[in-house]
């Protein structure tokens, strides 16, 4: 099961509405780019499993308004086999914990049909960028979490990842079922070819409501959100900007400008006393 999100294109003009929520109907929506890495990782693992003579299926799942179906359609073009779209007005305004509740319910429903061995997500949504969902979902499902994977391998019923952190490199391993989040360094998502796009049209997209999933609407959406946006405003543009073309002395003038504004210490640093 791969979780994907439909987000405004980061190259487009993005904005927040009066309710502090992201404007999602600008027509510039797309699959969250980092989720393509998740789909790619899952599709490759499924291909490897099939090559080894096992049954494997990749299901892409999204939660969101009508347009969000585009995100799972993209997942199908990238090689997923089936899709689920949770579409329910009560979901709007959910925080990450509400979303995790809904995704957990989808997993349990899928699990009634066939065991789900692996949940794969991207490392972050390029809209909110909190990176909270993978760990929140793993905790909600009580699955081992192997997050921020730059490398994923499956063998003998266990998943192993390498993760590169700011201050260390770690290798984690867990028995299946488990949850993995992958970084944008984990792979290079394939570009869907014509065949893939045609095949995707025939693949099933199941649309589910909260009632289908047995999720209480009060626990999700704006009502269930644990934080509330009080204010949102575009950042004012920077003023007094300087743009010069180097005439051979621009570097020297920049040095003086930095010192005048106290942006660089007037004496070289000698070790800081806290």
């Amino acid at each position: 099961m791969v979780c994907v999100k439909h987000v405004p294109d980061i190259q487009s003009e993005r904005s927040l509405g009066p309710d502090g929520r992201l404007v999602r109907d600008g027509g510039d929506g797309t699959i969250n780019e980092l989720d393509e890495n998740a789909v790619e990782a899952a599709v490759v693992l499924a291909e490897q499993a099939r090559d080894a003579g096992e049954d494997a299926e990749v299901v892409v799942v999204t939660v969101g308004p009508d347009d969000a179906e585009d995100a799972v359609r993209r997942g199908l073009q990238l090689g997923a086999d089936a899709a689920v779209h949770v579409l329910d007005d009560a979901v709007a305004g959910s925080d990450v914990f509400g979303t995790a509740t809904v995704l957990a319910a989808v997993l349990r429903r899928l699990g009634e049909q066939a065991p789900v061995d692996l949940v794969v997500t991207g490392m972050a949504g390029l809209d909110g960028l909190t990176s909270l969902l993978p760990a929140a979902l793993a905790a909600t499902l009580d699955l081992p979490q192997l997050t921020l994977a730059a490398e994923v391998t499956l063998a003998d019923g266990a998943v192993t990842v390498r993760r590169d952190l700011d201050h260390a490199v770690e290798e984690l391993t867990a028995p299946l079922p488990a949850l993995v989040s992958v970084t944008d360094r984990a792979n290079e998502p394939r570009y869907p070819n014509f065949q893939g796009i045609m095949a995707a049209r025939k693949k099933p997209v199941e649309t589910l409501t909260l009632a289908d999933l047995g999720v209480d609407p009060a626990t999700v959406g704006t009502a269930g959100a644990r934080t509330e946006v009080l204010e949102a405003a575009p950042r004012p543009p920077r003023t007094d900007r300087v743009l010069v073309t180097d005439d051979g002395q621009a570097g020297a003038r920049l040095a003086a400008w930095l010192l005048e504004r106290d942006l660089v210490r007037t004496t070289p640093a000698t070790g800081e006393v806290l």
Partner: protein, 329 residues
């Protein structure tokens, strides 16, 4: 009055991560006369850090040992946080906004019902006493203020969000240390740590909390010499772009951007950096932005306070040289 808990992130050497003192400062304001407690997860000796923590208003340090279990596993850290919240009755938890702390906060929130704000640039109480955090979103183009609605508020602050201040009067005390062992659950270690290799310590400041960051991009063509020389002259950290790390010119841990390190230094200097949205998302909240790029159309000039259209290999060494001359003279 409230007890505010601060996660004391530290290196394997036992050295506190610099911005932790900023958290302690923010915690004092939120405690509103209550106590600031620190949580130190791990067996590294805490004593060397006590005086500075005391000067920043930390009354009690809880040193929690996880025994044979590596405390770097984020589900283990989450359990340590939940345990400390229960023990102290804290209603606010502050931690640095790192990937590891985000994971631990997410798990803590699932376990306790807490509300979480990540990447906060400021935190305060509003008139009703709610914890309100400010953050910039959408690649630094919007600012928001978010109130936490739950009894326990978890706020992850970006480095540099608060200026750290000493306690004034009365004279600060050395914090009381309370040690205890945490019984880690089986579920927290189901994903087992096979190995962990800590990064080699660097002489330069930590990228995420440095005052000055000098960044090289595609325009360096792999030669980070001028970037490093300027960074060392000003006591800054060295950063890079996705292109530079993908090319293998410099380590992945230096990559600034939406999927890498987020920085908001007082001074950002980008050389040979075009300013793609991926990169801007990780640096747009910087105080003053300086850009050097041969292409006058480079998007980074749209957000630069001081832009120089020119060759970084002539401009940067000149800046370094001139700073050296002016500061010695």
């Amino acid at each position: 009055m409230a007890t505010v808990l601060v996660l004391l992130d530290h290196a394997e050497t036992g050295a506190l991560r610099g911005s932790v003192l900023e958290l302690a400062t923010a915690a004092r304001d939120l405690a509103d006369g209550g106590e600031v407690h620190g949580l130190w997860v791990g067996d590294e000796p805490v004593d060397p850090a006590l005086p500075v923590l005391g000067r920043h208003g930390v009354a009690v340090v809880h040193q929690v040992s996880t025994g044979a279990v590596d405390p770097h596993l984020t589900p283990v850290l989450a359990e340590a946080l939940a345990d400390a919240v229960r023990d102290t009755g804290a209603t606010v938890l502050l931690a640095l906004s790192t990937f590891e702390n985000k994971e631990a906060a997410a798990r803590l929130a699932v376990a306790t019902g807490a509300g979480v704000v990540t990447d906060a640039a400021a935190v305060e109480r509003d008139a009703e006493g709610r914890v309100v955090a400010a953050k910039t979103v959408l690649a630094g183009t919007w600012t928001t203020r978010c109130a936490v609605r739950t009894d326990l508020a978890v706020v992850l602050l970006k480095a540099g969000a608060v200026v750290s201040r000493h306690v004034e009067e009365p004279a600060p005390l050395v914090p009381e240390v309370r040690t205890r062992a945490l019984a880690v659950s089986e579920r927290a270690t189901r994903a087992a740590l096979v190995r962990r290799t800590a990064a080699a310590p660097s002489d330069r400041p930590d990228l995420s909390s440095a005052d000055v960051v000098v960044v090289g991009g595609r325009g360096t063509e792999g030669d980070f010499g001028p970037i490093e020389a300027l960074a060392d002259e000003v006591g800054g950290a060295v950063g890079s772009t996705r292109v530079a790390t993908d090319e293998g010119w410099i380590g992945h841990e230096t990559q600034i951007g939406q999927t890498g390190v987020t920085v908001s230094p007082r001074l950002y200097i980008g050389a040979g950096v075009s300013g793609a949205v991926h990169h801007r998302g990780g640096m747009q909240a910087s105080g003053t932005i300086v850009a050097v790029n041969p292409d006058p159309e480079a998007p980074i000039f749209e957000i630069a306070d001081y832009g120089i259209v020119g060759d970084l290999f002539t401009v940067l060494p000149q800046v370094t040289e001139e700073l050296r001359r002016l500061r010695q003279g």
